[in-house]
Each structure stands twice: as C-alpha cells, then as structure tokens.
Point group: C2
DNA sequence: CTGCAACGTGAAGTCCACTTGAAGTCAAGG
DNA sequence: CCTTGACTTCAAGTGGACTTCACGTTGCAG
C-alpha cells in the first residue's frame, strides 16, 4: 500500500479521518479528483490528502464547501495548494478568525453587562440584539456550529 | 395597543424582530405560550417579549432550541426568567463562550504556526486536525455559524 | 478459484430552525 | 355591512454537509 502511489478510498478516508461517503460526496462536488481502476474503483493520488487537509482547515475557519470550491478554483489548473497559496489564503482566514473572536468576545462582555442590568430589553440588549449580524440568518444557532454544541448537551 | 396587556402575534413579531412563522413555530415547540381570542387568534402577554429575548440570547451563546427548552424547563412552573435565573444561567453561558473563544484563538494561532511550517500534515496539524471536537459533527461548517459566514461570500 | 471485505451507484434520509404555500377565517375602520 | 389586512391551520419545502439504504461488482488473500 505504500509501494504504490494510488490509494483506495477506504485508505484515504481512514487517513483523513473522513467517511468514505464524504469522499465520494466531495468528488461529486468537484472538490477532489482521482483515477479509477479498470474495474471502476477509485484510486487517489497521495496529494489528495493534502487537499483534504486544506478543505478541513478551511471549514474550521468557517468556510462553506462552496467557498472552498471557490478558493481552490483560484489556484492555477486546479493544483493542490502549495505553501505560497496557503500563505496567501491564510491572510484572509486570519482576518475572519479575528472577526469571529471579536464577535464572541463582544457577546461575552455583553453577557456580563446585561447581567448587571437585568434588562433583556430586546433590540437594546447586546445579548439578544436582533439587529446584529448574528440574527440575520434564517436557520441554525446564532454563534456556535453544531460541532461544538453537540459535545455538551446538558445546559 | 398599549392600553391592553395582550399583543397579537404580528406586534410581538415586530417587536422581537422575528417572523410570525417563527413565533408559531416556537409555540408549537412549547417555547412560548399565549392565550387566544374567541375567534382563535393568538394574544400574547407582554412578558413573552422577555422570554423571546432569553431565547435569542441563548441562541447567540450557541444553544440549540432543544437546550433552550431544557433551560426554560429548569425554571419553576415555566415562568419567564427573572434576574436571578438569568444570572445563574449566565454563569454557564459564560463558560461556553470562553471555551468557544479559546477554540477559535487556538485555531488562529495554529494558522500562524502552520503557515510557518507549511505542513498541512493531517492529524498533526492544528488547523486540519480531524480529532478535534470541531471534526466530530456530521454537518455544517466546523466553527462558524451560517449567520456570520453568509455575510461575506467571497473568499 | 473462491470467499468476502471493500468497493460501486443513485435515490432518499437526516438534522435544525425555520419558511413557504394553499386555502380559509377574524377584526376593525369606513 | 364590507373590505382589507392580519390572522388561522397543516403540509411541505429549504439549505448545508453529509449519511444511509438497497443492491450489485471488484480485488485480493488463502
């Protein structure tokens, strides 16, 4: 398995920490590419692991797969990101992370402030402010992704 | 409208910054309660606004509606949270926010570190680490909720 | 050459927080 | 009384990132 350069989907999944179904999904979505055996089974080149790492990192920063697709699309001829591409994209990511952190910190500080006043006055309260960006989306929890929420179910 | 203590759904929706459909949904889910006119229309007591503020605040902290339901359930006889309840719950929320902030900061620092090494080495890279809590959920972006993601679509 | 784990496909299902649609009813100003 | 806008219900749809299912095929160790 190390002797050959092409890995079957199960091996890739195991190494990347993904389900094979996720890999097939990514391939359908054009996020990764691979070859096939004569029998039709997927064989991925080793660098797909790097590409998957890139995808996961992007998700961790808060990008949707759509945005990941766009990011990968900026790379010439769809190559796997090099260190230089990486550094360039990371500048944007860092800004996003900074914004996210700032948002959560504002919320936390609002929590303290609002406890003091006990207001919960809608629209004027930092914690429940419906005019914030946080309130603009149609669905999902306002600030935390399912991943972190599900980890601790009890209030 | 101010003379009477009971508000129609549209009024509540407007004041709370929600759609009426969301209010009906919350009522179906048992998160809020109200009375009805003889004709069957909803009339909400004024304190429902406070309850809605509570719900929104909880969502901002990252709670699912399921968790909000549980939180409201800890209050005796389903009353609207008082300042004391509020203070108690906020202690838990603050911890969550702190954790979330810490997580994002770790990610940001990992970004810097990993740019330096250019590794993206899967499992060992802070940015793409599939063993993190961030990687454990089935769906959605790993760290940022749709609300904040959608605001800036371009990479 | 055989057995069986790993692979293939397409369609449908899941989760969450709502929204949308269709079809009909109520309340209040003129 | 009439019109009109706000309201009612129930069922189905949305979006994102996958997973699950049902059923058939491939590849390799023994």
């Amino acid at each position: 398995m190390r002797s050959d350069d092409l890995l079957p989907i199960g091996e890739v999944a195991r190494r990347a920490g993904l389900a094979t179904s996720a890999l097939r999904f990514y391939e359908r979505e054009g996020l990764v590419h691979g070859e096939r055996t004569s029998g039709g089974q997927r064989r991925y080149p080793r660098n797909v692991l790097r590409r998957l790492a890139f995808i996961r990192a992007a998700q961790n920063v808060g990008l949707s797969l759509e945005e990941v697709r766009a990011a990968l699309g900026t790379l010439p001829d769809g190559r796997t990101p090099t260190r230089a591409d990486w550094a360039q994209l990371s500048r944007v990511w860092r800004i996003r992370l900074d914004e996210q952190i700032a948002g959560l910190m504002a919320l936390r500080d609002g929590l303290t402030t609002c406890i003091g006043c006990g207001c919960l006055s809608l629209r004027r309260c930092a914690l429940s402010n419906p005019d914030d960006a946080a309130g603009e989306s149609g669905s999902g929890a306002r600030f935390l992704p399912p991943a972190l929420r599900r980890a601790r179910a009890a209030l």
